[in-house]
Symmetry: C2
Subunit: 218 residues, 2 copies
Amino acid sequence: MKSYETVLLSVPLFQGIAPEELGPLLACLGVKQKTVPRDGMALAAGGKVDSIGIVLEGRFLIVREDAKGNRSLLSTLGPGDFFGEALCCAGVEESPVSVVADTDGEVLQLDFQRILHTCSNACSFHTKLLENMLAVLAGKNLSMQRRMELLSEKSIRVRLIRYLESAAQQHGREFSIPMNREELADFLGADRSALSRELSRLKAEGRIDYWKNHFKLL
Amino acid sequence: MKSYETVLLSVPLFQGIAPEELGPLLACLGVKQKTVPRDGMALAAGGKVDSIGIVLEGRFLIVREDAKGNRSLLSTLGPGDFFGEALCCAGVEESPVSVVADTDGEVLQLDFQRILHTCSNACSFHTKLLENMLAVLAGKNLSMQRRMELLSEKSIRVRLIRYLESAAQQHGREFSIPMNREELADFLGADRSALSRELSRLKAEGRIDYWKNHFKLL
DNA sequence: GATATTCCGTTGCATACGCAACATTTTGGA
DNA sequence: TCCAAAATGTTGCGTATGCAACGGAATATC
């Protein structure tokens, strides 16, 4: 069985855990590694979620299935990504989503109760783990918060400018973004072509310049 | 100094804590009660947030101030509501928001480090507190998630139907919602009059019936 | 290097919806 | 009971934008 140590050390949940502490921590948590064949379920909708899953290998899809059986893709997961943390922290009884394997894959399952309750030998990294857990959830909160503020603007133009400005605030007047047009359009809640149109206008007005995913504010 | 026990017991953070445990818990956390006069700051933008604030009395506003000094209202807080939890859990260095008093008010401040690190006498409710903290953050995550799925629909009509259907799924075909028109429009990312128009259409089509904030799906 | 495929920009068209303005109903206060 | 204020409904207008379709550029595959 591969160790996947490199993957695990990159997981935000384990941030600040020294490599040599990782083994003992995992042992203390009683993790289970699971092989999931393509199209298999790493987490099934409808049931209670009592563990957090970490993707070690392969590609997984988070999928919502409505009453009529229409599947809609919520997001995709790769090695180092994890899932189920919000559901089990919130104590949701029936998971509204499934996680299905898009390729053959491996996941690591961490029992939530054992994360929560410090083990008898009070390992020091346990506190760190909880702290990380909080940071992960809170970080997602904040980024969703920001996105919702964006989406609450009425016009594509304003949403776009807001987005670019906040990116510029972080990286300076010239920067690259981690999305292509389609993804950016999706992020801004707009149509791709409409987004392109708006970008063109801003360029024509001399307010911005761009090439592919590289932008400059003027 | 009033005790505000009733308020505190209703705070999700203290869910599952017995009334008689509350006092010792607060003592163990070393909470500080603070009086904030109208227009005073319970939390100032730009600084690090190292405590969670619980509103005991009064009305507070969460406000974002952009570079040009435009204040935009993000939400309002009343007794039992709390703030700053996401920011301090995420370890944000500069708070992007302020919390200002809309009336004279009282807040209780809980030092985050003392929430995180179990106290020396290992009080049992400390674990419960952490569990609640996780549940609160995760719960917000899930509700924001749902809202973003809503907002990602393109038309008001679809967003509205989705919203009503999910409400019906929880409470049956007939139910009341906790928002007035303006608030619902805001929640759905739409204009109030446009929302009214769409509601009228749905009623004319015989798909729904409604009166004020009471709805029936047909 | 040729071909297929993905990515991005452009444009015409139809319309959903924001906006403003006004009508109607409901609520609360004196 | 009457009045003012708030909440909700209605409607006309202009336009932003979704949609579809297409062309060109960039990238990948062989």
